[in-house]
Symmetry: C2
Subunit: 215 residues, 2 copies
């Protein structure tokens, strides 16, 4: 069941560099086509939980809109993409930035830098019907009350149907899989003792979901 | 159940560069500690099946010993590692080598290069009791009858307890997860029409499992 994706889903497919202001802040180059990496489902932690930052790791927050897959598919067309989405979820793609910088220089995989236990704080399943336009949502994140990220999904470089088309051209998407759609600008470190609050809201400011976690 | 890992397992954690002759043949540098990447379980294909090579992709075979995890664990010590293994499996870590070379140069994730559907041919579950010493097994692979890979697990740089210790220091290993332990030398392309035969054997040459697939 897609609504129990945190427990039953098998993979998290996370898109990189999908907001131009975020690409600039990390001095990266914009991709010509979407790219992604995998996170293990053992990285989920629910709201109210704690993100464990291993010693020596600089952990950055990346607040993102997640897509919960509702039915399996391979080579899904953009026209059919929406029918494979069961719902949405607010998520944070925690990233060991210093480790990621190191592996990027060496041409090594990102899996460890993105895959620590508790590195994917995750909200509730939001049924598709609840959200009128997934490309018109506010994503924000505060640390200890100070606003750090405040973006809109309208700014995605590659839109949701294109993301699903691209991923499913390589691997089958299954029920319960989560697709993370990239983060707007404002990423930065979370340190031990921080209280982090994330919000997903509609254009009028109405809350659709929130996540709170400590580090 | 670990014996149904192909259907029920959630992740495949694959170790890179764990045999020195293979490191040399790809002109890579030897790692100071193990490193890994994730493959999706949607990449499994059982013996008798077909590996689909996407157009424009140069797909290399990497025959490997797989460890099937039997019980969950985090921060597993080398002394306890063996108790987390339920059994073994013969596997092939198919790799889109030209795509991998490209992403390595750009510092991008390996997930697509390793994660296409059918890029993990997989054998049967081999109960732990069947194998006396997992560090004394023959791994071989033939294409159209010609021997391409012929190694021994005795040549692993990082041995099995160290691999489990390392992975579980980052992410929880769960029942049904598969750990791929790296490939010996002799990797090379598989092209459409090829018949590939892989063998796992004990030191006396007795077959423990085999996989056959076409491309
Ligand atoms: Mg991200
Ligand atoms: Mg990777
Ligand atoms: Mg390999």
């Amino acid at each position: 069941m897609a609504s129990s994706f945190i427990r039953t889903g098998k993979k998290i497919v996370a898109i990189g560099r999908n907001y131009s202001e975020h690409i600039k802040e990390l001095s990266n180059t914009a991709p010509k086509e979407p790219f992604f990496f995998l996170k293990p489902t053992t990285s989920y932690v629910s709201t109210g939980g704690q993100v464990e930052i291993p010693s020596g790791i600089i952990a950055h927050h990346e607040v993102e809109l997640g897509l919960v897959i509702g039915k399996p598919g391979r080579d899904i067309s953009q026209a059919n993409a929406e029918s494979h989405i069961a719902g949405y979820a607010l998520a944070v793609d925690m990233t060991a930035r210093n480790l990621q910088d190191r592996v990027k220089k060496s041409g090594l995989p990102w899996s460890a830098a993105k895959g620590f236990d508790t590195f994917t704080p995750i909200g509730s399943f939001i049924p598709k019907e609840t959200i009128k336009d997934p490309h018109d949502l506010r994503l924000s994140l505060k640390i200890n009350g100070a606003l750090k990220q405040n973006g809109t999904t309208a700014d995605m470089i590659f839109r949701i149907p294109r993301l699903i088309e691209h991923i499913s051209s390589i691997m089958t998407l299954e029920e319960g899989d989560l697709v993370l759609t990239g983060t707007p600008s404002g990423v930065g470190p979370v340190v031990a003792g921080d209280k982090v609050e994330c919000l997903l809201a509609d254009p009028s400011g109405k809350e659709l979901d929130s996540i709170v976690f400590t580090a």
